[in-house]
Amino acid sequence: MTAYRAEELLIAVIADLLAGCRHVAVGMASPIPGSAALLARHRSGGAMRVSILGDPENTFWSDGGKELFDCAAQGRIDAFFLSGAQIDGQANVNLVGIGDYPRSRPRFSGSFGAAYLYHLVPKVILFRPDHSPRVFVPKVDFISAAGTSPPNVYRPGGPAALVTGSARFSFDRARGGFRLESVHPGNDVAAIRRKTGFDFGEPTTIPTTTPPDAETLALIRGPIRQEIARPYPRFATQLTSN
């Protein structure tokens, strides 16, 4: 088996989740999801469109930032990514701060488009490489984006999956909870439970995440790395420093 970096595994896992999407949008500060979207596009043979904020070569809109949000409300974006300082078992996401609002401490940057896009993009993939109980909490301190909604709320979008540095989960929108789908090589369920502050479902036998094959690694290290260097030069350098 070929040796691979942790980032390369995550890129491959997320790319698999994007198969079949027509248009994938990637927000700010998201080099790994961005690389995954580019990999999925490469595999789609040009059928998939990818928009990466901060990359002029991969942003089609000419009517300002509002155009992207209008696209989402019209159903023109199939997949998007969110991260959070805190994520809870109901898939609520906190991007604002820790402690009592408004005087959060620390205070983070803010909710960006999350409060809106979470409702409207069908496949939102939650992504957080560091799997820790500080992140995966029983209840977030501030709901920047709400994981679930009552049935009367218009909501074509929502959380579909959670990918961390340790595992991949799916999210059941009807029941409102995560389910462990696979554990990355070198991790075990007991340890994942210890570093997850909420309960989640699990199958009787838990598969190990399939590592990226040689062909996938060649793509990531070749054309994908080259393209992600445009918006994320530092990240692209890290990918090569094996």
Partner: protein, 276 residues
């Protein structure tokens, strides 16, 4: 409308009164940083900032320098260079009022103002604490739907002044924005618009249809000041890249109040010529 005036940067900053509600663009979209430094030099007070829809170093500078009373934003950060330290500290310490928004709601508030209507409806946002802490936003049942269909109404926002930086303006006060259409929305929605430009050119941008579609008409523009490298240390698309070394330096200096004060002394107060 009176004709657009061509003035200098210090003069432009002097036209922004204390307490004004100021609309500012996102970091990559034409930030008037030379004018911002002039605003700090004139010791502006009590400014209310609306970031369209996010902001970075510009807001952090104004907040750290004590010019700001209130910020409405979807996010303030130095992006690749880390969190915006003066913003974070001011919110935690309660020295500024924070009104958290979400990007499309900022756009919708300005678009409502642009249309002269009191609000625009917007999907999403329901069930969030963003909505809970915005008493100025409402939720109604969609009147066109027989069953229950709650939808958020975002109140119109009319900034006192839109302030931004562009590559080119002409001497009539027409301003080329190209793809940066959010700048147009800002100007249409605001009472007054003040602009700095890399260059003031001796043509009429409205006469060439290739330019006119990407041009904000002087009709909306009160004054333009020429400011070469006026977005520095941020970049300006098509003109120059951001100054990564300087932004790294700012991020570490602004991490402490003392470091921030030294930064202001060196790059805002002491070096007026270099700053512009």
């Amino acid at each position: 409308m009176p004709r657009t005036e061509l003035i200098d940067v210090e003069n432009l900053a002097n036209r922004i009164p204390d307490g004004a509600l100021l609309a500012l663009p996102a970091d990559r979209n034409g930030v008037a940083l030379a004018a911002t430094r002039a605003l700090i030099r004139r010791r502006a007070q009590g400014l209310r900032i609306l970031t369209v829809p996010t902001s970075g170093m510009q807001s952090d500078l104004l907040i750290g320098a004590g010019c700001v009373a209130e910020v409405e934003t979807s996010g303030v950060s130095l992006s690749e260079y880390g969190p915006a330290p003066r913003f974070g500290a001011a919110v935690s310490e309660g020295t500024i009022v924070i009104r958290d928004a979400t990007c499309p709601a900022v756009h919708a508030g300005l678009q409502a103002s642009e249309k002269g209507v009191p609000f625009l409806p917007l999907r999403g946002i329901l069930g969030t604490d963003v909505l809970k802490f915005r008493p100025d936003w409402r939720v109604i049942d969609n009147p066109f739907e027989a069953g229950s269909d709650p939808i958020v109404l975002v109140a119109a926002v009319q900034p006192d002044i839109a302030l931004f930086h562009v590559a080119r303006a002409d001497r009539h006060g027409n301003v080329f924005v190209g793809r940066e259409r959010d700048l147009v929305t800002m100007a249409h929605a605001s009472r007054r618009t003040l602009i700095t430009a890399e260059q003031i050119v001796d043509v009429d941008l409205m006469h060439d249809p290739a330019y006119a579609a990407g041009t904000l008409s002087s009709f909306y523009v009160e004054a333009v000041a020429e400011a070469p490298r006026g977005a520095w240390p941020l970049g300006l698309h098509g003109c120059y890249a951001e100054d990564a070394e300087h932004l790294t330096r700012y991020a570490s200096a602004a991490a402490t109040p003392e470091g921030f004060r030294r930064y202001l002394d060196e790059f805002v107060f002491a070096t007026r010529a270099a700053a512009q």
